[in-house]
Assembly symmetry: none
Homo-oligomer: 421 residues x 2
């Protein structure tokens, strides 16, 4: 039993179908998350094909880098699956029948009313140096080795089989074998500011961070997540230290922060609306229903989402949302005046506390010098006031739709705060 406070792991996914892009490898991502949670540092992930030389050289490279090597795939009964014979070759041992494994695979087929084929029977033959790890929900057993100063675990590529083996056997076993460091993560989610502006705003704070607290920027569409990772001996101390750092950080970026942790913008809005007992409705032109979709993706949204309307032409902006024909002809559909009327009238139509509207040129067609593609007006109407904003987005239609949604949801978030303060 090795005891080690800086335990490293490598994840190895095996299969031609991964390299050729036939199936997505979701296993490696999931294993990464699980190891991160218990303080094992993943140093590399590799994907190789069903090829002897590639697999053997991946074994060799991995054992130089990591204490723990977790591999998925290549365990099927057909001849293109090589993981098992190559593990036996690499550790210089035979492959022999394991009676318990045969019993398990026999039971597996019996339960499903199917007969055991010769190929299935082969799955109960394992390298003699491995510890047999039963797989209750599939036919390929797990194999655990302690060889060449590393631990090795081979698992099937089928996600739910792999996850069960990890949860029932691998993760508990790793926690038992190693004295793992304490790691504390905290995510701070921001919206409405780009990565480099955010970095600029907090650079002095970043410089004074102690060495055992690391900062990462994780940008996505219109949003940046900040991740603080602290390493130490006691979770309480780490939590206190991270909270202290966050208390120094918040005054610098407070207005951009919408959540700590994994909550999405639409979930935050749902929570705030529920808390305040307020309701919302959307009039979406250029966003075409995407904002309503995001909001209604959240379970329980029917308690605060009244509904939405997508008036994709001026005629319907007038007919259904009572936008003045004069405004439409003189100011245009993409104008501050139009989104004001859209937001106020959708609020009234759906008997909501907040009415929000979008109107813009998503592209690729429809732009001109004065209003190029990417020009979007948004508005939020509430009982006391209506606020508006002009966005100048990109040339890309999908991106414009997504960025409009983020801007509208953020506008709503800020208005709800205004109302509940």
């Amino acid at each position: 039993m090795t005891k080690n406070t800086n335990v490293t792991a490598e994840i190895l996914a095996i299969g031609d179908e991964l390299l050729y892009g036939q199936i997505i490898d979701t296993n490696s991502h999931w294993i990464s998350q699980e190891l991160d949670k218990i303080g094992v540092k993943v140093v590399q992930r590799s994907t190789v094909g069903d090829n002897r030389e590639s697999i053997l050289s991946a074994f060799k490279a991995a054992e130089k880098r990591a204490d723990i090597i977790l591999m998925t795939g290549g365990l099927g009964p057909t001849s293109d699956d090589l993981t098992k014979p190559l593990l036996a070759e690499y550790f210089d041992c035979d492959i022999a029948l394991v009676p318990d494994a045969l019993e398990a695979v026999r039971t597996f087929f019996e339960k499903r009313g199917r007969e055991l084929t010769e190929l299935n029977r082969l799955q109960a033959h394992l390298p003699t140096k491995c510890t047999y790890v039963p797989n209750e929900i599939g036919t390929a057993p797990g194999m655990w080795f302690e060889e060449n100063g590393c631990v090795w675990m081979s698992m099937p590529g089928v996600p739910h089989e792999m996850k069960k083996l990890m949860q029932d056997f691998v993760l508990p076993k790793i926690k038992e074998m190693y004295l793992l460091p304490v790691i504390y993560h905290k995510i701070i989610k921001t919206v409405g500011i780009g990565e480099s502006w955010l970095a600029d705003l907090i650079k002095d704070w970043e410089k004074q961070l102690p060495a055992h607290i690391r900062l990462a920027y994780l940008p996505s569409l219109g949003q940046v997540r900040l991740r603080l990772t602290a390493f130490g001996a006691s979770i309480e101390t780490l939590q206190d230290e991270v909270e202290l750092q966050i208390s120094r950080l918040m005054p610098l970026i407070e207005k951009y922060v919408y959540a700590f942790g994994n909550e999405t913008l639409e979930e935050v809005i749902g929570r705030l609306l529920k808390q305040s007992g307020k309701k919302v409705a959307f009039a979406e032109s250029c966003s075409g229903g995407y904002i309503s979709h995001l909001v209604t993706s959240v379970p329980g949204s029917s308690s605060y989402f009244q509904g939405g309307i997508i008036p994709y032409h001026n005629h319907f902006k007038n007919k259904l949302l009572k936008v003045d024909n004069e405004t439409l002809s003189q100011k245009g559909a993409v104008s501050e005046e139009t989104v004001i009327q859209m937001s106020e009238n959708v609020r009234e139509l759906f008997e909501a506390d907040f009415g929000l509207a979008s109107s813009g040129i998503a592209g690729p067609g429809g732009g001109w010098a004065e209003k190029p593609v990417g020009t979007v007006w948004i508005a939020c109407a509430s009982a006391n006031r209506t606020i508006t904003k002009k966005l100048q987005l990109t040339q890309d239609r999908i991106l414009n739709i997504q960025l409009t949604a983020v801007a509208v949801l953020n506008m709503l978030r800020i208005e709800i705060y205004g109302k509940t303060e």
Copy 2:
């Protein structure tokens, strides 16, 4: 310029956030697919952290295995991003300002009405041995190297920026540099039948395929793509052979096939509506705007999409869509009668040729014995008739929304065919 018929590639994803499982690496999978299509064989995919030794040793290992090394990530302006300095170190060159790159990043910010920071300016400094590859939709440029007998391309980790660089520059460049084997792909897109039923339906046809034509099943939400891949010497022969096979296949599955190639269901619908000069509108309850979003994601959809309404409560189904209160109270919102009225009235309200409606229990709450979570009614109204369908979907809210959208769009597709025949 190397000419080689057995060209290999390695994909390298860089970033702690990947290893720690904070974000999913969708890039490597997408790149795998694109390389496979042009006949480049991916031999390994590796993911390493923001760590000097890991990145340098990944460079070294990759150049031994592959002709082409495509890397993503680690190009941000912040100090944790190491790809650029390490490429300069590895190829033993300086980093210097590239005026064109500075001009591009300046224009990028000007268009968005924002000021260039010192950090942004640094993104225009590149290793002197690289060819600068402009990134029109982001701030980190692509970098192309031809060093140590390999070609290397470094791209940002943001998926849409990477994809644009691949499509505009990398893939054409690779096709120009190498004599790639002749590969002919044909995609057949089906909807409304599961993978195993489809496989059963075509198993005799599959068995008679010649060895140089491979079949792959690529299932996604409610749809299965069939991909035929043929290998040979002449593209014309391969095309003829594949077309012959398809002519044998089609009688077996014709009613499920909606496209050949990459056209999406919403694009096919757009094309059919344009061709027939017809217009459409949607009344979405359980799908919450998602169908309208899919339809309006297609450029030019304003010529056939009239609009949509999302009446998320009975009150608005009655007020805005004139569904009888009696129907709502006696049959319920999730009923055939309700979706008939919704579809007919949304068709009238939006002055459309086709009106479609969805109403169901997306979950996780709201189900009961008679109408469990996943029960969905859909309808399509046109001038002559209204058709309906009951779906029994899953326990998962997001999946139910997506599967409802696929079913509604497929119902519309079939109705348009009916109208245009």
